[in-house]
């Protein structure tokens, strides 16, 4: 299937934080959880196409910077109004200090 793409260095993202990653005309959000795991979702909020990477990560939730739509970034599940459509998630692995995302 599709290849793994290098998004950033593992150290580029603080714990419990998020970073924007653009690739091939698409935009993604890469997360580092408080327990030091990495995750990836589509980069734009499903409510009004705002970059989620400007939002706040608290535990396993990313909150949209514009209207506070909330998603579980581990599963993509929409967690609060006005967001009602789930986010697409992507497999992530860390290899030799690099964060790799499998963008399908």
């Amino acid at each position: 299937m599709s290849d793994w793409v290098e998004a950033c260095a593992a150290d580029d993202i603080d714990e419990e934080d998020v970073m924007r990653f653009d690739h091939g005309g698409r935009t993604f959000a890469i997360y580092r959880s408080p327990d030091d795991e990495y995750f990836a979702t589509d980069g734009l909020c499903t409510h009004e196409k705002v970059h989620l990477a400007d939002g706040l990560v608290m535990d396993d939730v990313i909150e949209c910077p514009k209207h506070n739509g909330r998603f579980n970034y581990k599963t993509g599940a929409a967690r609060g109004a006005p967001a009602c459509v789930n986010l697409k998630t992507y497999p992530v692995k860390v290899d030799a200090g690099k964060v790799l995302v499998q963008i399908g």
């Binding site: 939002g55 706040l56 910077p65 514009k66």
Partner: protein, 409 residues
Amino acid sequence: MARGMIIIGAGECGGRAALTLRDLDYGGPVTLVGDEPHPPYERPPLSKEAMAGDAPEIKAIASDAMLAENSIRHIHSVQAVAIDRAAHNVRLSNGSVLPYDKLLLATGSTPRKLPMPGLGARCVYLRTFADALAIRGHLSAGNRIAVIGGGFIGLELAAASRKLGASVTVIEAQPRILMRGVPAEIAEIIHQAHVTEGVDILCGDGIASIADDGRQVRVTLAGGREITADLAIIGIGAVPVTGLAAEAGLAIDNGVTVDTELRSSDPDIFAAGDCCSFPLAVYGGRRVRLEAWRNAQEQGALAAKNMLGAGEAHAAVPWFWSDQYGLTLQIAGLSDEGKSTVRRDLGDGAFILFHLAEDGRLVAASGIGPGNAVARDIRLAEMLIGKQAKPAPEALGSQAVKLKSLLAA
């Protein structure tokens, strides 16, 4: 059998309340009564994105299909005309009488009318989608728009008008724009953005008279200046819609008076959103009324919970935003609670003013910057305000200190 839940007002608040009742597995009848022909829709875009395109579109909170799926009966294009509290029913303008177990008033607010003679067809207000369509029709290159009132709605419409090539004059009687709730330092940035985009802003001069002949409007200021426009958009605040509640004998105090659980003076009637005044816990129960999208959303959901007996107290911190040109302003808390301010620069011209009370509590945070530059820190500030935290001013002012680290303290 359950008589059911009636929600009067099918806007953000009423729509969210209806959906929340179903989310909480309420199985009885839910009826949403609205005076517009549309399903519940988002109002914030009406002064922003909806004006940008050629044809404004409704951004529905719940489509007709979604309402049907959730067995929410939406009675549209009608007014609720009377509440019979003893009989527990509501009479509608179409003659029907609906029984309720619990009733939610989510009647919202309505634009404050400019109390002067001379207004006609070219003097308009913005509240509904129909209003937005009417205004959009006038926002074309070469047209002259007068915006009366330098508040958020007026300024957002001024920005939208400029983008479409209309010329714009903003008339504000106060010494500056955004007097209510926005610090001068931030209002000045917004003022300059408008001036840079070619908006003429006239502050500190009241309106002496208005003459509207149905094709154009002539506004004469007290200082003698005359502005002629193809359309005058009036945005001088909003007043809560409380007529129905008052007629039913409910307590009114700058809106339907509710307690921390959003219950009115009648235990089976709740009120939420723009139409109610409520005690704000974070400021020791100070009674406020908010005209804000997120408040409407949160209170709609909370009222639904409490209609089902949750007994949950309102605990949110006020928050709102505005978009003008490439700038976004976000304010958490009420800045008039503050006695001193600390500024935190975020780069790219973005900054946040933290408002501290005399005892050191963080009570509000006002931020402005390009795009969503201030969003994350304002959200963290909101949480600090909610915790009634007393962060060190030097920490708030230093970019080297992460706000998130203050939250853990």
